[in-house]
Amino acid sequence: MTAVGEQGVAAVTLEELYGTMARIRAFETRAMELFGEKHIRGSVHPYIGMEAIAVGVCSVLEESDFITSTHRGHGHCIAKGLELRPMMAEITGRATGYCKGKGGSMHITAMRHGMLGADAIVGGSLAIAVGAAYSLRLQGKDSVTVAFFGDGAANQGIFHEAANLASVLSAPVIFVCENNQWAISMPIAKAINIEDVAIRGAGYGFPGEVVDGNDVLAVREVAARAVERARRGDGPTLIEAKSYRITPHSAATPTDNRSPDELAYWRDRDPIARFGRHLVENGLTTEERLAHLTDEARDAVADAAAYALDCPYPDVGEAETDVYAPSDWQRPGRLS
């Protein structure tokens, strides 16, 4: 099948892009069910409707590149190549989860996949991404780091500190603002007095680009430019991907005060359906092929969920491990 290969970034097939988006959609759908069935504690913040952003951006990254993520992070994980089984085990609190059940839905970390961690403090990981990017360059590596964050985080102080620091350090970092229009009940129009978050890049001396966050190929193209620029040593880029979360803020907070018209407008722009139409209309694949990819995604997620629910919970002794890295000073009873 047709591959897209922007200059200087990893090539990927169109079916892979579609399949990864479908896997995210299936994962989030199942996660919402598992929350309802009380297999998931706390909450789940579904990425439904925003799949094109993570998939477009991560499709231009290498294994050796890093990302930081947010409370709405499952999509970033799947797009970065994490496996569904340990992800599902993590969010169902099992010992076999990526973080041994200590992190949960909002804190999936997988260093072997370049996933530095998901952060449940809005904006909290932005400076972490800058430091990781800087350090990797100091070590002579050509890795880049992508910081995913929401439009709400763009008003946190740490966003501005991270952006400025990234600029003066010329850190190879890409700030990806997922503008899904709402911070729980706060519409973006009331939260900021500018049309585009992207223009804030100019305030710190680096490019800011707006992209249709529901168009996976457009996201990929913008991300490719930003990654190439970062690898070249020309510093950060701010990408604002305009999108929408089709579901409420979280599974635990189902109240949604957004208008049905607005929801309908965005459902019509569903990034997966839209990409599927594009592929079929241009003769790049068939409906049958897409249906097969969707089934594959659902099967993989069903398998992951079944696996997770069959896994043991962590041994209670694990509650007190991993607080500190192993060190000379440690001996029993000294942690306090």
């Binding site: 890093f66 930081t68 989860g97 990526y98 973080c99 041994k100 059940g101 200590k102 992190g103 804190h107 970390t109 997988a110 260093m111 530095l116 961690g117 952060d119 403090i121 909290g124 990981s125 932005l126 400076a127 972490i128 991404a129 800058v130 430091g131 990781a132 990017a133 800087y134 350090s135 990797l136 100091l138 070590q139 780091t145 102080g157 740490i158 500190e161 991270a162 400025n164 620091l165 003066v168 350090l169 491990t321 991993d322 607080v323 500190y324 890295a325 192993p326 060190s327 000379d328 000073w329 440690q330 000294r334 942690l335 306090s336």
Partner: protein
């Protein structure tokens, strides 16, 4: 006749620790405000820029949360950053990066990562810098699982402790006392480390145990010298690392003396002195105690500017002497020192 041991100020000792560790490990870098060209407001990073260049000695914008967060990120991927807070009160701007990120990242990841970060800077009380430059906040950090907290009282300890902190795979809050920066003490030429979590008995005594870290250690030693002239033998224990606390050394001493005074410059309520008392009681048989433990702390106020007021609020030599007398049941105990 043997050669006089080399003497350095605490600032020079800390500087030498940074220099040695940066030479030893190319992964170590320092970042902070005015630390490069200026060499640090208190000269702790003097001359490092010349030797290691601007990629490892980074003059940062005024952006405390940003540089601390960047330190966490750099630590996650293999660097050993040393982040300087110019004045440690600015840690209030950093608490999210420190407590929600540096301290928790390893645990939340199920042990996949470690955060070898040092966050260091001065406690600047005692010199009229007023309420936002004079706080002693170690209790906050001791209360955050995942952090290590260190506070040296001598140039020797400062150097050996900072070197251990830099080599440690866990985030370390390293508290320096500005008034001690210029104080000289012996520091050997040859390399050494002061291990994390090991207290030092600064003075041996049989009557009363005084536990104090950082500047109060010097206060405790002064009080001990004064009381020795009256026939009272005070044992002074400097935990050096506040977390993990070397409770064994403290408990052993209190079991011997039966009397405990804890000196700490933080505010009284919820303070580190309270923690030392409570932990000692966990480890010492009640029957071995000859008196209720006494805390000598700052008052529960912001630190005031005026000399008379600041002296009133911070623990003084008289307060320490009074507390020792109190646990001994001696008459000279001043009435205002209470349990």
């Amino acid at each position: 006749m043997s050669e006089e041991p080399r003497e350095l100020t605490m600032a020079e000792a800390l500087n030498e620790a940074l220099q040695e560790e940066m030479r030893r490990d190319p992964g170590v870098f320092v970042i902070g405000e005015d630390i490069g060209r200026h060499g640090g407001l208190f000269r702790v990073t003097a001359d490092l820029l010349d030797e290691f260049g601007p990629t490892r000695v980074i003059d940062s914008p005024i952006s405390e949360a940003g540089i601390t967060g960047a330190g966490v990120g750099a630590a996650l991927v293999g660097s050993r950053p040393v982040v300087e807070l110019q004045i440690f009160d600015f840690v209030t701007l950093v608490m999210d990066q420190l407590v929600n990120h540096a301290a928790k990242w390893r645990y939340m990841s199920g042990g996949q990562v470690s955060v070898p970060l040092v966050l260091r800077g001065p406690i600047s009380n005692g010199i009229g810098m007023a309420a936002q430059h004079s706080q002693t906040l170690e209790a906050w950090f001791v209360h955050a699982p995942g952090l290590i907290v260190m506070m040296p009282s001598t140039p020797y300890d400062a150097k050996g402790m900072l070197k251990s902190a830099i080599r440690e795979d866990n985030p370390v809050v390293f508290l320096e006392k500005r008034l001690l920066y210029a104080r000289k003490g012996p520091v050997p030429e040859e390399e050494y480390l002061v291990p994390i979590g090991v207290a030092d008995v600064k003075r041996v005594g049989s009557d009363v145990t005084v536990v104090a870290a950082g500047a109060p250690t010097q206060l405790a030693l002064q009080a001990a010298r004064q009381l020795a002239r009256e026939g009272v033998e005070v044992e002074v224990i400097d935990p050096r690392t506040l977390k993990p606390l070397d409770i064994d050394t403290i408990a052993e001493s209190v079991s011997k003396t039966g009397r405990l005074v804890v000196v700490n410059e933080g505010a009284r309520a919820g303070g580190f002195a309270s923690e030392v008392v409570a932990r000692t009681l966990d480890h010492v048989a009640l029957g071995d105690l000859k008196a209720s433990p006494v805390r000598v702390t700052a008052k529960d106020t912001p630190i005031p500017y005026s000399t008379t007021l600041e002296r009133e609020v911070l623990p003084s030599l008289e307060d320490v002497v009074g507390a020792v007398n109190q646990v001994l049941g001696r008459e000279s105990a001043p009435a205002e020192v209470t349990v």
